[in-house]
């Protein structure tokens, strides 16, 4: 049974849920903006903008705390059931995941000072498109949450493959670039990390989508067939941290 949005007999419950939805939309919007700003700072080598992203991450952390508090409180005081319960659990988890997305954006911003300008590094040309898609996934996963739209959530998780493909492609060209330009190896490594951050953002958007799917349908999202990824072996074991 999906939430049809009809009102609760106890109206204050609807107030809590609506407030939470508003905060999730806000934290989502802020982290999406953080990605965009970080990428713009990177392209323009704008140190001020980069510093802004780092500073604004505190707001995202604050929001996460407030969401968690209100979710916790709502679960304790209203004892929600069925899709209400699923939605609140999803809210709790989503706020954590979105906060991590903010951290990745911050991490990108922090690398801006050490990269002189990406334009001269060939492999960097793919980064803007990659980040556009990653941001789009973040936006759509939260849109799916707002609309309780399991189909859109499923679509987000499928589209994450595009981000993964970008990463594979950037990974290869950065390695090649490093071999050909050993003096730029430091900057190239930073670029690789940035690509990795974007790839992780895509994964996190997928996590959000999975929770939206569960909240809406009451069952886990079907597994996506990820296929072979040549860089899998080179990745650090990821524990979401």
């Amino acid at each position: 049974m999906a939430n049809t949005g009809t009102e609760h007999t106890v109206k204050a419950f609807d107030t809590d849920i609506n407030e939470l939805r508003g905060m999730v939309a806000e934290i989502g919007g802020r982290s999406e903006q953080a990605i965009a700003k970080a990428m713009r700072a990177l392209e323009k080598h704008d140190l001020e903008l980069a510093a802004e992203v780092v500073a604004e991450d505190k707001l995202i952390d604050e929001l996460e705390k407030r969401i968690d508090e209100l979710t916790f409180q709502t679960i304790a005081l209203r004892a929600p059931m069925a899709d209400d319960l699923r939605e609140l659990i999803a809210t709790f988890k989503i706020s954590g995941v979105v906060e991590r997305i903010g951290d990745y954006a911050k991490n990108i911003a922090k690398r801006v000072p050490v990269i002189a300008g990406t334009h001269k590094l060939g492999p960097a040309s793919l980064l803007p498109s990659m980040s556009n898609i990653a941001s789009e996934l973040v936006r759509d996963s939260l849109e799916a949450f707002a609309r309780r739209d399991a189909d859109l959530a499923l679509e987000v998780s499928e589209r994450d493959q595009i981000v993964d493909d970008f990463y594979t492609s950037i990974f290869r060209s950065v390695i090649t670039y490093m071999i050909e330009n050993p003096k730029d190896i430091g900057e190239a490594a930073h670029l690789l990390f940035i690509a990795k951050n974007l790839e992780r953002i895509g994964d996190h958007a997928t996590n959000v989508a999975e929770m939206v799917y569960f909240a809406a349908r009451g069952e886990p999202m079907p597994e996506r067939d990820r296929g072979e990824n040549p860089t899998d072996l080179l990745e650090e074991p990821s524990n979401g941290r």
């Binding site: 049974m1 049809t4 009809t6 009102e7 609760h8 007999t9 106890v10 419950f13 004892a79 929600p80 059931m81 069925a82 899709d83 209400d84 319960l85 699923r86 009451g218 069952e219």
Partner: protein, 280 residues
Amino acid sequence: MTELIDNASSSESPIMTETAPPAISAGDGPLKMTTRNVDVFYGEKQAINGVSIDVTMDNVTAFIGPSGCGKSTFLRCLNRMNDTIPIAKVSGEITLEGEDIYAPSMDVVQLRARVGMVFQKPNPFPKSIYDNIAYGPRIHGLASTKDELDNIVETSLQRAGLWGEVSDRLQDSGTALSGGQQQRLCIARAIAVDPEVILMDEPCSALDPIATAKIEELIHELRGKYAIVIVTHNMQQAARVSQRTAFFHLGTLVEYGVTSDIFTNPTQEKTRDYITGRYG
């Protein structure tokens, strides 16, 4: 069984807008009681419409639903307590261990010992604690000596978690106990005649949270020893104490299934609206 009433679908009956759900099995565990297509009328008014539920030995079964939906009426069918209401007519099939409990050969007094009942308001006899427990075993001839009877009284009080609180004052009146203790006394009284099934109709609705928690704990401990069916208007309680939940609405069984499924992912919109607090 009493006769079926044919002209049941009179237009003023709100119940008949629903088609009766198919026989629903509770899943695992040995079956203790089965009910098939049970209808109950109070005079012309239909209170239960085509309910089919299986009760297993291993699970606590909870009946939930808005007040007036027929939970108590249906519960009372399980030990023929509705026989005491002259205008009540029950039809359909109800079995205990495969035996039709409405068969003419069924001894109703015996049946009510096998299927004991605990009511909303604790109703100890105005007698000593000891006699409250000993009464049933005495009339059912379960003890031949004083020692045997003492033994039943002690075991029953122990199983009901009351022994420690009353062992030194068994001759005090049962009505002098606190509400929660009285309710556990009533449970001990039901246990004393060695029942197979215990029916509880909102057993905690007159109790404070601590007394309620003690009864819920007791239900956990009794699970498996007896088949337990509990009616509760408190959904959190159903969620806490039961493994199977049946949701009733206007005399029909809307959904019956594993409690955790019912409370996390019900299949029927009516169930969902009720348990999430969107009812009426």
